[in-house]
């Protein structure tokens, strides 16, 4: 585990609020994510986990509060969000690979267009990444030719090709057949070991407990409890976390 590698503040979330019309989904979230942390976010369905994650890279525009990433408030309208998103990768439940591009193209298009990498440079990096996740031989395949687990591994390395400072995961294994969950969690565990900062919304409690450096429990638009994984899972304080864990463990 990379607990001892945890460093300076990377993302500071200050009084983050998000409404959808009359529905208040995030009611004032405060937390700080440090370099090297693996923050696992758990909670009942509809508690605002995805919304919280999507506010971190402004896929949802916060109604109020701040998301300070590397010293810049992303929620500020004057911030050029495209620039900062390059440093925050995101992995989705449904992979969202680009179906009209090969796996290699999926991985090289952003570095080439956004970081002015040459095709050769971008391809070299992409092939290294693909080898890491055991998919180098699928470089010229199209997403539809891959299994769910393979797609999600590609989605992870596609994000990594931008060499981000943090990777956001929104239930990366929830859309997978059970036998494919392991291969994706394994990749994520490797990344954690290497010290990549990650924020992971997940229902995989085993992974959360083993790989997470901090657990966050969300309920009703609030962070109800936040603690190191051992305390979080073995000695939960809040009755709602106790109830939640008793149901899912």
């Amino acid at each position: 585990m990379s607990t001892n590698g945890i460093g300076t503040e990377l993302i500071e979330v200050v009084d983050l609020k998000k409404d959808f019309g009359k529905l208040s989904v995030l009611k004032g979230i405060n937390t700080t994510i440090k370099k090297g942390e693996v923050v696992v976010v758990v909670g009942p369905s509809g508690s605002g986990k995805s919304t919280f994650l999507r506010c971190l890279n402004l896929l949802e525009t916060p109604t109020g509060g701040k998301v300070i990433f590397e010293g810049v408030d992303l929620a500020d309208k004057k911030t050029n969000i495209d620039l900062h998103r390059q440093k925050m990768g995101m992995v989705f439940q449904h992979f969202n690979l680009f179906p009209h591009m090969t796996i290699l193209k999926n991985m090289t298009i952003a570095p080439m267009k956004l970081q002015n990498k040459s095709a050769a440079e971008a391809e070299k990096l992409a092939m290294e990444m693909l080898s890491r996740v055991g998919l180098a031989d699928r470089a010229n395949a199209y997403p539809s030719q891959l299994s769910g687990g393979q797609k999600q591994r590609v989605a992870i390395v596609r994000a990594l090709c931008m060499q981000p400072d943090v990777l956001l995961f929104d239930e990366p294994t929830s859309a997978l057949d059970p036998e494919m969950v392991g291969e994706v969690l394994e990749v994520m565990q490797d990344l954690a070991k290497e010290g990549l900062t990650m924020v992971v919304v997940t229902h995989e409690m085993g992974f959360a407990k083993e790989v997470g450096t901090r657990g966050i429990f969300m309920d009703g638009g609030h962070i109800v409890e936040e603690n190191n994984p051992k305390e979080f899972f073995e000695n939960p304080q809040h009755p709602r976390l106790k109830e939640f864990l008793s149901k899912v463990l």
Partner: protein, 239 residues
């Protein structure tokens, strides 16, 4: 013997009509040149329509997705409403007699503009449905990598949308090919008008008009066939 005679005489009549309507005085040139005008107007009108349609579709779906571009969206909606709410024939006449009256502008150009502007309204809705058919996750994946809105549209959404709507665009070409047959109303000598001119010279209505119909049909049937093959190809290469 009787049938043979009948056959012989109708064949003779056909040859006679053919020579009289098409060969004498080089009348075939009315159809040949007319066909050229028809294809020219159709091709450039389709291209103009695609250009207009793409812009309108992007404005409309940007507005639907982000709530931005309120004024451009309003203009686009007005355009769609007017064009789709009035007959193309009336639009062509207004274009020729009211809007593009400057002598410097050719009739072919007026027709291209009129049919192109008309087609754009239909193509816009084709593109819009194409854009809307792309999963929202594609858009989010593009943005999350750091692509701007425009980059996401052009690199990720439009190529997929375009592929989805290619058959519908091909169909629009066929529709327009037939629609341009009203160009005679602004004194353009297109294929239809060519046939009509021959009719007025030979006082034979059937032969030139049927010939015109057959030429349209050959193009439409041929294009439809190509389109079917093309669609099948798209489907088998579906990624």
């Amino acid at each position: 013997m009787f049938f043979l005679n009948a056959g012989q005489s109708s064949w003779d009549k056909f040859v006679g009509d053919f020579v009289f309507n098409l060969i004498e005085k080089d009348r075939w040139k009315y159809l040949w040149n007319g066909l050229g005008v028809t294809l020219k107007i159709t091709l450039f009108a389709v291209l103009l329509g695609i250009l207009i349609g793409m812009v309108v579709a992007i404005v409309r779906s940007t507005h639907d997705m982000t709530g931005k571009m309120k004024i451009p969206n309003f203009i686009c909606k007005a355009y769609l409403s007017v064009i789709r709410g009035t007959p193309v024939m009336v639009q062509l006449l207004i274009a020729y007699f009211v809007i593009f009256t400057s002598p410097g502008i050719s009739k072919v150009m007026v027709a291209i503009l009129a049919f192109g502007i008309n087609s754009g309204a239909y193509v816009a809705e084709i593109f819009r449905s194409g854009i809307m058919s792309i999963d929202k996750g594609q858009f989010e994946a593009g943005r999350s990598l750091g692509f701007s809105y425009v980059q996401t549209m052009t690199l990720i959404i439009m190529p997929q949308a375009l592929k989805n709507v290619l058959p519908a665009l091909g169909n629009e070409f066929i529709v327009l090919l037939k629609e341009t047959s009203i160009s005679g109303y602004i004194a353009l000598e297109d294929l239809t008008k060519g046939g009509d001119i021959i009719r007025s010279q030979t006082f034979n209505a059937m032969f030139p008009l049927i010939t015109v119909a057959v030429i349209y049909w050959i193009f439409v049937a041929g294009l439809s066939h190509l389109l079917t093959i093309f669609e099948r190809r798209l489907r088998t290469s579906e990624h």
